[in-house]
Amino acid sequence: MPFARGVLHRVQDQEDERLSELVITLAFVVSVLAMTFRMAVPLIFGTVGEAFAERSGVLNLGIEGMMLMGASVGYLVSYHVGDNWAGVAAAALAGASMGLLMAFLTVTLGAQQHVAGIGTTIVGSGLSFYIFRLGVPLVSGIPPTVTPFPELNIPLLTDIPVLGPVLFHHQALVYVALTTVLISAFIFYRTRFGLIIRAVGENPRAADTAGIDVFRVRYICLILAGALTAIGGSWLSIAQSRFFLPGMTYGRGWICIALVVFGYWSPLRILGGALLFGGIDALQLSLQAVGVEIPYQLFLMLPYVVTILALITVSRRAKAPAALLKPYRREE
């Protein structure tokens, strides 16, 4: 019965087609989810750093410059030394010095925090570009690339379908980022030092009266913020793009300022927010990569819009550290 066989074939074909569509969709979803983690890494480092700064009472608008310095220094050291971890360490050191500058301006001098932050960011973006131009030869406008970290293969875990590639097949810094979140959550909520940071950010005068060195705590938090942010920046150049480009953070530092509000200054919520914002980024990049025409700018705009909405609700609940933006002086 040729007729019936023809129908059967067609049904079979349709099922095959549906199956292959399903496989393609699944592969797309898996790659977007895996990419989500990669896109979230700089946001996680930067925002956890920002949480330390803001919890101690300092809004660190130097963050964009710190991230750029991390990206530039990380790339340059990795390129010249040939070791990515040396690059990450140098980036952290550069970020820490930027944090030290920010601390000197806002804590010792008591300068207005946003003005000091913008100054730090301008220095950082200028200097990152400057040392990059001096540090590598440009061949027809394109800098030489570095080899990124190898992706880890964890026995058994990496082989799990779907979950394996999404969670267990990443460069090591992804796991460092996730661990940083857990450690910071532990510091904030389970240690004496975390309590001290929060006390300094909420009521520095009371903390001072209780014998806490407000200045030292804020210095430590800002230096830590700078180092973490710069590590996030070094991920962008070393692991993601494999080279540095001026201004390559593209406002990711500001996204961290947004995220820390969105995550209510708490590391675990920040992780959630970073994955959400990273996911938006991964989705728009993947859709573009497979040729879907989307107004991707509207995706990229979302974090900022969402944050203003979050700020409106936060301001009602007054969750921000009370002493944020206020310089502390003993004798006033």
């Binding site: 301006l105 946003h114 913008i118 900022y304 944050t307 009602r316």
Partner: protein
């Protein structure tokens, strides 16, 4: 920290100190940055000579300095005006784009209209575009107590991505592959004031804005009210000043003036709306406002100095090979040194132990 000295507030600094502090800060910033120039293998004095000679020593250099002066003065005045009332407008950059977009709409669609109609229309619409973009954070601040630093900063990126969306989508120039709008009408292009240069209509308009700011700042009771709001909003409210109205008005003016920077770059230089209409002019505006001590004359001088550094570093790059991003480093370092300078005008350090 127990230190062998104590920081105490000094009586209000005399005028000469308030004037010299920014100048010393600039010199200090140049001194710090000479280390970076040295690192590039160039004698800093040789480098700086070419920087200043390049920006001031030739007709071309000087005219380009004035071309850069235009957006920087607009942004400096915009930020200074806002900061006077402590409306922390970090969003001049975004307001510049908002103004540019609004002016593009008229500049592109009113083909055939005479210059006398279309150019004023671009200025008015650009002002309103920037004003609207600044009014939103001001309303959020006054009505809902949402922090203006973060909202104005976020606004920069929202409007920038919106610009990028328009220029790659609905407003895309069908002729080129770049993200830019079609060219504005030939009649919408600003007249060139000095033949053979790029000095355009926007520059006198910027100076006029600085003059208006001078009248507000130094000659009007409203300027006094703004300073009072900045110094102590609660007390101002008790004195019968309408703080909400003051802040929203100042935001509208500030955003509008920043919007004019966008209009001028569009009509005077680029003639297409672009995603790189501004090279961080809005952020440089913050440096300028602070360096000028928020005073109209100081701001004008600071804007000129920043234009010199920006233009001159291009010349220094061509002559000596010192990478031009040094201008941004000098700019940021100036702000850093200034914060140190301001500290010493407000406080003094006294030894407590021998």
């Amino acid at each position: 920290m127990d230190l062998p000295f104590k920081v105490e507030k000094r009586p209000p600094a005399p005028l000469w100190l308030r004037v010299t502090a920014p100048i010393i800060s600039v010199v200090a910033a140049l001194a710090v940055c000479s280390a970076f120039i040295l690192y590039a293998g160039v004698n800093p004095l040789y480098g700086y000579y070419h920087l200043f000679a390049g920006a001031l020593g030739s007709t071309l250099g000087l005219s380009e300095t004035f071309v850069r002066f235009c957006p920087l003065l607009f942004c400096g005045v915009a930020v200074a005006l806002a900061f006077t009332a402590k409306f922390w407008n970090i969003g001049a950059e975004g307001q510049l784009y908002a103004g540019g977009l609004a002016a593009t709409f008229f500049g592109v669609s009113f083909i055939g209209a005479p210059s006398a109609l279309i150019i004023p229309l671009m200025f008015v619409s650009g002002f309103l575009g920037g004003a609207l973009w600044a009014a939103i954070p001001a309303l959020l601040k006054t009505k809902l107590k949402v922090d203006d630093v973060v909202t104005t900063l976020m606004g920069n990126w929202i409007i920038w991505y919106f610009t990028s969306y328009l220029l790659t989508g609905p407003w895309k120039n069908p002729v080129t592959v770049w993200p830019e709008s079609p060219a504005i009408a030939p009649t919408a292009e600003f007249p060139i004031l000095v033949p053979g240069t790029r000095i355009h209509l926007g520059i006198p308009v910027a100076l006029f804005c600085a003059f208006i700011y001078f009248l507000i700042y130094a000659r009007s009771s409203w300027g006094y009210e703004l300073k009072a709001i900045g110094a102590n909003p609660k007390a101002s409210n008790l004195m019968g000043i309408n703080v909400t109205r003051g802040l929203v008005t100042v935001a509208i003016l500030s955003g509008g003036i920043a919007g004019l920077a966008g209009v001028s770059e569009l009509g005077g230089i680029h003639h297409h709306m672009k995603t790189d209409l501004s090279f961080g002019f809005g952020y440089t505006g913050i440096v300028i406002a602070m360096l000028g001590g928020l005073h109209p004359i100081g701001v004008t001088a600071a804007a000129f100095l920043m234009s010199v550094i920006s233009t001159g570093s291009q010349v220094m790059y061509r002559v000596t090979g010192v990478p031009y991003p040094i201008s941004q480093v000098i700019e940021g370092m100036t702000l850093v040194c200034l914060l140190l300078g301001v500290f010493f005008t407000e406080y003094r350090i006294r030894r407590t132990r021998d």
